[in-house]
Symmetry: C2
């Protein structure tokens, strides 16, 4: 069961030939999400051979151009490709107005509905839930209202042990009870659940911490996350610049990863002034060893913990 | 003296890996203009190694996303690169509001001024003039208000003949009069201008006819143009679709080129449904032989007519 994060853009506000602005595409058990949508995201989707029309949910962290300017073009493309199903957009409220004004100016009429969910910047909220996963916002500290997102896969049902079921001749009607972790009663005999089941895999999680300065307050919301994306616009050599622009360094990102006990840290949103991102990995690894500096086109698979 | 047109985007509303949406970069005697600015234009500028900061004038034909959605990102990039000089934008009035709202939402404060000139869609106007060139709008017939642009290089001064000047010992003080085409008086003798000067090169011209259905009314405005760009979204096999969407076929574009006696026709804005654009050239050449189907990255130089 897939849980993959495709990096469509790993750069910051100044796009370069090799780094587009931020966009991550998430496939969690064939639910398809897009997180942030910088200019050029639709071309990045094409390059990564990802299907536009599978996307059902788009999450926008904040309204700096490098995180949303590709959205209008993408929504137009959905329309040109004949989309009929609703798209769900979770974003700062003001975005709805910007979208409406564009579509009014271009006299475009979409053949599908936009279900717009306004995010709050100051509190963490559950903004989506189905039977597979939930999404909560993570308030971040940036120059303008900005949220991260944590996607948590739901815990699976308990795993049945076929040999034990057969040995005790357990009728199928009782399987669901067992999967739910309950004991069962058969021929007036109470049988303990653990005879018949194994622990399921733990639900996996991905946290996307978009533009933010160092902010320990996010730690309780992302505790034990499997994969943490945290921005690292600068190295420590530009600490002043990071502070001034409400961004983080690789050092900051690694500190957060360590504090929240992440399994793995991926860093991006690199300032265009740096040509070589190996220094970012080096700086972060001093604090948190399992760190990767991302590139456009990368794909990170989140495995079940053994 | 340069007059070059760089094609940054030759596709239409559905961008593909090989064709970005519309944007043309014009260098006329080191005056740098951008015409239309679809999503991704700033990356196309980088790929073509053109200097962002040299651009002083941006012309936007209409407010369909594939003609302007790269503008906000480009203006932000100007700012990040430290631009101080004013940028002149010529576009439908509504664009100003869209820009203002974006910059308000992102709390961005530009370090340079935008001089916004609203274009009228129904009449041709001179919207720019300096000592090198003029720009006039061309009303087009599209689904929403849309203008093309014609850039006309000014006629040069007459060329002096050094040998004749020397022979008659003409003082330098009279050179300007001669260049302006006037006769001169020397030692009470009237001397005809043509003894001392040759005809200058004729001013060159480039017409950009953005999204439009077939529209003969534009012909008087682009008569004898040196280089004509005319959209050709479809082939004649999609005549119904062209009519319905207020676009042209290669056949339509070629008819306009013939009627206005253009020297050369370049066609683009190809619908993404066509993989091979040689059929566009073929269809157009039946009517107007000097036709080229453009590609991203092409550069067309407009030479002086010998």
């Amino acid at each position: 069961m897939k849980f993959k994060v495709h990096i469509l853009g790993s750069g910051s506000a100044l796009p370069t030939i090799s780094r587009n602005p931020t966009a991550h595409y998430v496939n969690i058990q064939e639910r398809h999400l897009l997180i942030d949508c910088g200019e050029g995201t639709q071309l990045q989707l094409r390059k990564s051979k990802l299907k536009f029309q599978k996307i059902d949910h788009i999450f926008i962290s904040h309204l700096h151009g490098d995180h949303y300017l590709g959205l209008i073009g993408l929504l137009s493309t959905f329309n040109l490709l004949g989309r009929k199903k609703t798209i769900n957009i979770y974003a700062p409220e003001k975005l709805k107005e910007l979208l409406d004004q564009h579509f009014k100016a271009s006299q475009s009429y979409l053949g599908y509905l936009i279900n717009f969910v306004a995010t709050a910047a100051k509190i963490s909220e559950k903004i989506f839930e189905d039977n597979v996963f939930t999404v909560h916002t993570i308030p971040l500290k940036h120059k303008i209202p900005c949220t991260g997102f944590i996607i948590k896969e739901k815990q699976k049902l308990r795993k049945l042990k076929p040999a034990a079921l057969k040995k005790h001749q357990i009728p199928i009607a009782l399987f669901h009870q067992l999967k739910m972790g309950e004991d069962i009663t058969l021929n007036n005999q109470r049988l303990s659940n653990d005879i018949f089941t194994l622990d399921p895999e733990k639900g996996r999680s991905y946290a996307f911490c978009s533009d933010t300065k160092y902010n320990q307050e996010m730690v309780p919301m992302i505790n034990n996350v499997d994969l943490l994306y945290h921005e690292a616009t600068f190295l420590e050599d530009k600490r002043d610049r990071a502070d001034k622009t409400f961004h983080s360094t690789a050092h900051d990102a690694a500190k957060i990863a360590k504090l929240c006990n992440a399994k793995k840290l991926i860093i991006g949103h690199f300032s265009a002034r740096y040509n070589d991102t190996s220094a970012f990995e080096k700086e972060a690894k001093l604090i948190f060893n399992n760190t990767v500096a991302i590139n456009d086109g990368d794909c990170y698979e989140i495995d079940f913990i053994k």
